[in-house]
Symmetry: C2
DNA sequence: TTGAAAGCGCTACCAC
DNA sequence: GTGGTAGCGCTTTCAA
């Protein structure tokens, strides 16, 4: 491989001057620039980025931690982030964890070893204090409402949006509403459960254990849910569902079994994925591009900040 | 920042020895290891990866080029690749291009500057010869059937799977079949069009321009297609569709308009996404995990190889 | 406007 | 089992 010294020799100048040309410094003689350029063209030289990184201590790489990408929620999120990144001079490193803690630690080590300039957590398995223990290792941004010194966060207001969904169902006459969640104790599930409890309280409705279904993530979970529902005697009149995938599984299965939605069961999904549009399903919209922009903005800022993202109920035909 | 020399000094050994401990070399005295370890623990030292990269000339980074990730096809693909990568000691750099050529060139430059050890093209806008001109810059793998010296490829047999879909429709009595594609001249569309032409020829069926619909990618495109279909007089009895998203848009819109699928129109989708399962839709399965494994295997091999992926027709209720 | 030289922090070779 | 030393290729400071 040719290096900067080879170019310097060919152009009859010093490596310093070559470096100046490479980095478009002013005050270099035009003729000199041309000579260097000629040598570069001739050899097809490109500078060794590792040497630059070593010298400067940065990589312009932003790491993002996601559990999977075969789920629309995360892929749309990553897409939004990638769009935002492509407007900067940084690149995106993906650490897909399947929620394995070891993988998340690996990501944190990437930050610590400066292999990435910043790490964005889209979702996590490790405890907050583990993340906190790395807060001095580099810039971190988290997509949830944690209040840790030195760590930026952008978060969706799941409490408000869930409450709004419940209130909308109540306004449409529903007195027994069920909800389903994915990971029972994730930050967003905790918010959603609190919204549910507060809602029931406010309307003096009873809390029934069976009205909170957990581990619903995939479309298949919605199918299972529908089959259970079909066989149960006492059942809710409305369902507020984890996401549109689960809602679609629920909806299509019920309809195929002859149910009428929303008459027999009202459904609200989450994410406003295209499937919800196709099924004319009421859902909650998540502004992924805005979230991506926000996360990248925070990734590049020097101080830590907090930012709330509002979600919007999209009213369609399943309520 | 503490560096290897600081640790060496603290432990009373040389930097070489510290390096040996760091890299788990054998033949280091146990006491020495302990002393070094103590110094490392005390300072919280981690090695500067840039120096390692500079020294070794590698980054263990694999770049992948995708146009978007808000589409299930690509997100499942990236997910499959990410799963495969996570079994290696490499990491994944995503270059999301929106099919902008400039972005693809940026990715190629990343390879040339050794910022990544290998580049995987999942889909491209630039011409093959542009890619070819970078074939000496580093390892490249492409997800399509190109035959370029020094570039590995894994490709799906779109011709065979499309032909099989058409044959299946024909066997079910359909004589006028339409197809829809996305980008008219993409490698896969060209294969699919050829399969269509060959199929028509083999069965002495006429080729009608209006039976090839292009630019169908999103669910919304399927909705539009359905609306056109509803208003047209002479129409096909079966549709072989770009992907399950478009097929879902088509299906749900027709059903809502009172059509019976497959009686009024048979539909075959593509990708076997969960939505096709929910709608009980006949489709073609793409083995994303296998593709991911294969691409990463080729990324890490030294020679260039070719590999074909077979696709499988999943028979359900829309034919 | 240009150049010499000193690192950035690590690994690998060779010597002991 | 251990250490000295010579780079990897670049940028930056200082001096000319």
């Amino acid at each position: 491989m040719t290096n900067i010294h080879d170019i310097a020799k060919m152009a009859g100048v010093s490596a310093t001057t070559v470096s100046r040309v490479l980095n478009h410094h002013p005050h270099v003689n035009e003729e000199t620039v041309k000579a260097v350029q000629r040598a570069i063209d001739e050899t097809g030289y490109t500078k060794n980025i590792h040497a630059v990184h070593l010298k400067k201590g940065r990589t312009n790489l932003i790491g993002i931690v996601v559990p999977f990408m075969d789920q629309i929620y995360f892929s749309q999120l990553v897409d939004g982030i990638a769009r935002a990144v492509s407007k900067t001079d940084c690149h995106l490193l993906i650490i897909q964890t399947q929620y394995i803690e070891e993988k998340e630690l690996e990501a944190l080590e990437l930050l610590k070893t400066k292999q990435i300039d910043c790490l964005i957590f889209c979702s996590r398995s490790v405890q907050v204090d583990v993340i906190q223990s790395y807060s001095q290792s580099g810039k971190m941004v988290v997509l949830e409402d944690i209040q840790v010194e030195g760590i930026s966060c952008t978060y969706m207001n799941h409490y408000d949006s869930f409450y709004a969904g419940l209130a909308f169902l109540y306004a449409n006459g529903h007195k027994r509403i069920s909800i389903c969640l994915n990971r029972e104790n994730s930050t967003s599930s905790l918010q959603r459960k609190k919204a549910f409890a507060d809602f029931l309280n406010a309307h003096q409705l009873p809390f029934l254990d069976e009205d909170v279904v957990t581990d619903c993530l995939y479309l298949e979970d919605g199918i299972n849910l529908a089959n259970q529902l079909i066989q149960s005697a006492a059942r809710p009149t409305a369902f507020l569902v984890t996401n549109d995938q689960v809602a679609a599984g629920l909806y299509t299965t019920l309809v195929r079994a002859g149910w009428n939605v929303p008459k027999d069961l009202a459904i609200i999904g989450f994410d406003n994925q295209s499937i919800s549009k196709a099924l004319d399903m009421t859902t909650v919209q998540i502004p992924f591009n805005k979230i991506g922009e926000q996360l990248i903005k925070q990734a590049l800022e020097s101080e830590a900040t907090r930012h709330e993202i509002k979600l919007e109920l999209i009213k369609r035909g399943t309520v």
